[in-house]
Symmetry: C2
Subunit: 459 residues, 2 copies
């Protein structure tokens, strides 16, 4: 951190520094989240967090501080530029210059999991319209602010038609408002494969949390620059800037670590703060150092390698120079921080309850289970199907279907009949009396007349 | 298909062929699944399906036939070898020889989705113990049968501790039964990145459905051999073998398509049937053809390219030869098909109900919502927390947390108090009376004294 700050200040950054102590020492002093209330106050006041790599102690119930900070401060966008620096840093993809914009709060990473039966475990993938809209708008605003040509959306909407379908739909809606930026999409599997093999094809990629986690690591790895990479975590109120590599406790404090990741995070921070002149000067000086073969032991030839502090001095010595082989960087002189879009309240849809999926823990055969469930219904409702792991097993099962002890039983209102929650609760009460071991429910709704749930396979 | 079958038969395959018609023509004749009852009968009788690429017509509610067949016949394992054929097929990774064993039935691909509120959509990720055990055992059995050294497990169990944690736990248990095979694991993001950049490090990879979808495409792409790749879909009763490329309707029937993918699928089928001698002869003859620069227009130089049927004749002409540059293939002469493990019933755990997560659609502030919920409880229960997208918002919210209209409200039995389902139903009934718009529930259980649900962030 010392080395990076020295370069930032020498480069003309106008920053006041308020140091806070987080991580291992704080964990061990009894703050199980690794951060003190004073440190939270400081972050809230300063709104910009320039973070050194930290260590979450293994075991002992310590929570990941990165996740805590991201979630608590609402840092919804993870922005990771992945750039090749060939021939100075080895890569198969010299022309690569991709920015991954990853949604950072939703998706499976909400971590809501339930063991449901002896055999079956569940995790919820949750996606919200404002969450999709915030990240997609940020990606397009980023593309505009940084002079990028194209934004590509990666989802799996051919399988997850509602959740990933929502992300894709929001992407298409927002893209229409940015006619100056090309919009493109790929199914995540094919997209990830193309990114791995031909990353030069991509510019900005926007994608939900889990996919973003995977593709941002792929992009950094094939660029060859994991050790030099930085990322920004952007929220409506606060932002955090950090290197993408870990804390490497084995070499910490020995003056051998490469400060480039943290320095590039500092450059992202300066751009975020609108200090683009200093950012450009420092970024170009750093590229000059790379070109001149200046590097810490991780990237430089053994006899040419320098220490962390010396590397910083070498960058400082090149302030004002521009690279000759690598493309010089330029940032708009009057750039203003990207304004984070604030979700607008939308009119509420007309919601109609049309049924319920009841999930049952049972070792019975589907026919027997169906009979018991039917006895619990009221005359307005009917059992439509039972599935096991998404495959229909009642009525008309396939003999080859392997069944677990976890059954999804879909109960719907009969045609033309109206349903209400009181009836559903009554049906559940009957199930309790009849010893049906239900473990979860999902209501089935129509929103403005449109079905809000997927059909069963074969339904 | 004609070309591939000609090679298989010339190579000594002992097969009786029972052709079935599936796909576009069948869809259009009125079978919305693209397959007739007679065809199902044939598949059940013959148990082995050698499938040409087919087209699912766009729109019109046609279901993907691949998904239908996979799910209906319980084809739980997707096996995809990804091999580099340098220098005859261009690749950055000449030494690559990876097999992806992908779980094929579970995970998010069960496709169970529910729109829950105006803003929030959900997909269920479901993972079962027997499902994990089947695929992991298949991967280790495969490694043994094919003389492979190492199986690597890709999951994200640092985030999804219950679901991916189960997969990882089963992997570790099963691995201990195969001391002759090295067991290894990687977090999916880092694993995918390494696979993209240094695939030579991997041997067999076993992974859940979604990750498998992504990494099998990455592996095929970086091997450079998507057009030559094949995959097997294995079930307890049936198996299906196919090329990994699509149906390419624009070139079908013009004698220019590369039959290699389908031919290699045929070789996989022969090995599966125990006809390893024929498989070895055909596989090596095909490698010889590659070495000799024989190829259809997609891989050969323009003036050297041959048609589909001629390519087949060239392979047949080389039957009995072994490649000189590429490594010759050998299959155990007395190999028997891998026996699919049958899940064994396990003792049921002692399950104890300790609470319920009630998910509420509301535009209220968390404090107001908490007050209303508390009024619905009985004296044995208490409201422990409310989260929004997994972030705790009651008690002690962070001011920066962005909230959607979807609240997860955790109700638990007070210490030392016993809970039953009748009480939960009573609480839900109170919510109905009080106008609390709950849209789903998840019961909280302990299994043999172990917590069967994740804690909320900050809980």
């Amino acid at each position: 951190m010392k080395a990076s700050l020295a370069v930032l200040i020498a480069g003309g950054a106008q920053i006041e520094i308020e140091p806070i102590d987080i991580g291992e020492r704080v964990y061990k002093s009894g703050h199980s989240a690794g951060i003190t209330p004073d440190a939270w106050d400081s972050l809230r006041r300063t709104k910009v967090f320039y973070k050194a790599p930290i260590t979450t102690p293994q075991g002992g119930g310590f929570k990941s501080l990165n996740v805590t900070i991201r979630k608590s401060l609402g840092l919804f966008a993870n922005v990771r530029p992945c750039v090749a620096y060939a021939p100075f840093v080895k890569t198969d993809h010299p022309g690569m210059d991709v920015v991954i914009v990853r949604e950072n709060e939703e998706d499976l990473y909400a971590g809501i999991e339930h063991r449901q039966t002896d055999e079956v475990y569940q995790c919820l993938k949750l996606v919200s319209r404002p969450g999709c809209e915030k990240i997609v708008r940020y990606a397009f605003d980023y593309a505009r602010a940084y002079g990028r040509q194209k934004v590509t959306c990666f989802v799996k909407d051919n399988i997850m038609k509602l959740t990933d379908g929502l992300f894709r739909k929001v992407f298409d809606e927002v893209a229409a408002e940015y006619p100056d930026i090309e919009a493109d999409h790929a199914i995540i599997d094919i997209g990830a494969a193309r990114l791995a093999a031909k990353p030069e094809r991509f510019d900005v990629i926007v994608t939900p949390n889990l996919y973003g986690d995977i593709v941002s690591d792929i992009a950094a790895e094939v660029a060859g620059s994991v050790g030099l990479g930085a990322s920004a975590n952007i929220g409506a109120q606060c932002a955090m800037f950090e290197a993408i590599h870990g804390s490497a406790p084995d070499i910490a404090g020995q003056d051998v670590a490469n400060p480039s990741g943290l320095l590039m995070a500092g450059v992202m921070m300066l751009v975020h703060l609108g200090q683009t002149e200093a950012a450009e000067r420092i970024h170009n000086a750093w590229l000059c150092a790379l070109e001149d073969g200046v590097g810490t032991p991780d990237i430089a030839a053994e006899d040419a390698a320098v220490g962390t502090q010396q590397f910083a001095r070498e960058v400082i010595a090149r302030l004002g120079q521009r690279p000759k082989t690598l493309a010089p960087v330029s940032y708009e002189p009057d750039a203003r921080p990207i304004e984070v879009w604030t979700p607008q309240p939308k009119p509420k849809a007309l919601k109609r309850l049309v049924g319920i999926d009841v999930f049952v823990h049972s070792n019975e055969e589907p026919d027997a289970l169906a009979g018991r469930l039917q006895a619990c219904l009221n005359p307005l409702t009917e059992l439509k199907m039972i599935t096991n792991r998404g495959v229909k097993v009642w009525p008309d099962p396939m003999p080859e279907t392997f069944c677990t002890d976890h059954w999804r039983c879909r109960i719907e209102a009969k045609p033309e009949k109206a349903l209400n929650k009181a009836m559903l609760v009554e049906i559940l009460r009957n199930m309790v009396l009849d010893g049906v071991d239900f473990v979860k429910t999902e209501h089935l709704y129509e929103f403005d007349g449109e079905r809000g749930y997927s059909l069963g396979q074969g339904q």
